[in-house]
Symmetry: C3
Subunit: 138 residues, 3 copies
């Protein structure tokens, strides 16, 4: 069995922003030496999510809007009363969108559908956030 570990940083310009990380994950996967297995993409922070979706920039805006409707500002979140710098909204959005993903690896490459794109969604950005890629297989 072969196991590969890599981390990279994402630093967004806006507090909430969605970044296409498909190529970064694809390169990690190809460089891992794993031909058949599984690739875990796991942010080392709790105010970010990773998800697979259709390749369209407008759709990423739609997702941020949908999450803002589900987790509206000013709901009197208990977490934010502890410290005004806290960001309950960001953590709740990460849980609803899904924190990490697992991708299939076949023939030494990501085994994705034609339009599948890997997105990193940042909900509390403007500083570097580490993302772990772990590939396990043979």
């Amino acid at each position: 069995m072969r196991s590969y570990r890599e981390t990279f940083d994402v630093c967004t310009r806006r507090k909430r922003e969605v970044v296409d990380i498909t190529e970064t994950i694809r390169q990690a996967c190809r460089g891992s030496g794993v031909r058949d297995g599984l690739c875990l993409v796991f942010p080392h922070h709790t105010s970010s999510a990773v998800y697979v979706s259709d390749s369209d920039r407008h759709l990423t805006d739609d997702l941020l809007d949908a999450l803002a409707r589900a987790v509206p500002e000013g709901e009197g979140y208990a977490h934010n009363r502890v410290d005004p710098k806290m960001n309950a909204e960001a953590h709740l959005m990460a849980v609803l969108a899904g924190h990490h993903i697992l991708l299939p690896v076949s023939d030494g490459d990501l085994d994705l559908g034609l339009y599948q794109t890997i997105y990193y969604a940042e909900f509390d950005g403007c500083r570097p956030k580490g993302v772990l890629v772990k590939v396990v297989g043979e």
Copy 2:
């Protein structure tokens, strides 16, 4: 280490429909030759979700209703303005319900609880959609 890959198609009659795929996944798992490991169920499309839930047809209707409340029609989604055939609602529902799942495999079979059923939720159906099953283990 052993690795197994299989794909199958789901073609629903309705645009939004939930299908019980437990037996298909169980047969793939049993035929994989893996006795202990992990089974990834990964749709190759971005307008479908896979999830584990209680075995009751009424509950699948409740989930479609809950997702329609979270992602209502006519919100002016940016994705749909690009092309009226686009379906932002379907993609957003897939992210909220969760696109893929990972199942435990023990003693050559799915290691599920008594009432756990595996569902494929289609949000943009009426055409064949591929689903990948990848089993990794020993």
Copy 3:
């Protein structure tokens, strides 16, 4: 390849309650004999979720509130009309929060970020619920 399986029970005092299970998962992982691989945390029930989030008790209350807004009581769920003891709300919350998680294992330990905590969210508690931990790797 090495594979390890363990189950443990969670029994909450309240119907809806969130429990920090980080230490239980960490001990299972350390005892598994796997140095590099993946750790699946998979409840054997469909009215519970497992997720990774920031370490703060107030935030767990915020999550329960957010889920109660997304899945309000008294929506006339079809599942509950079958049997008044049924609990559609619990099953829907589990799907939205995410039923299971996959954690990276490196150097024989959980490979988490500094503030990442593993939570078990119960939506239909007051009785023992089994949770499966499956560690696969080398």
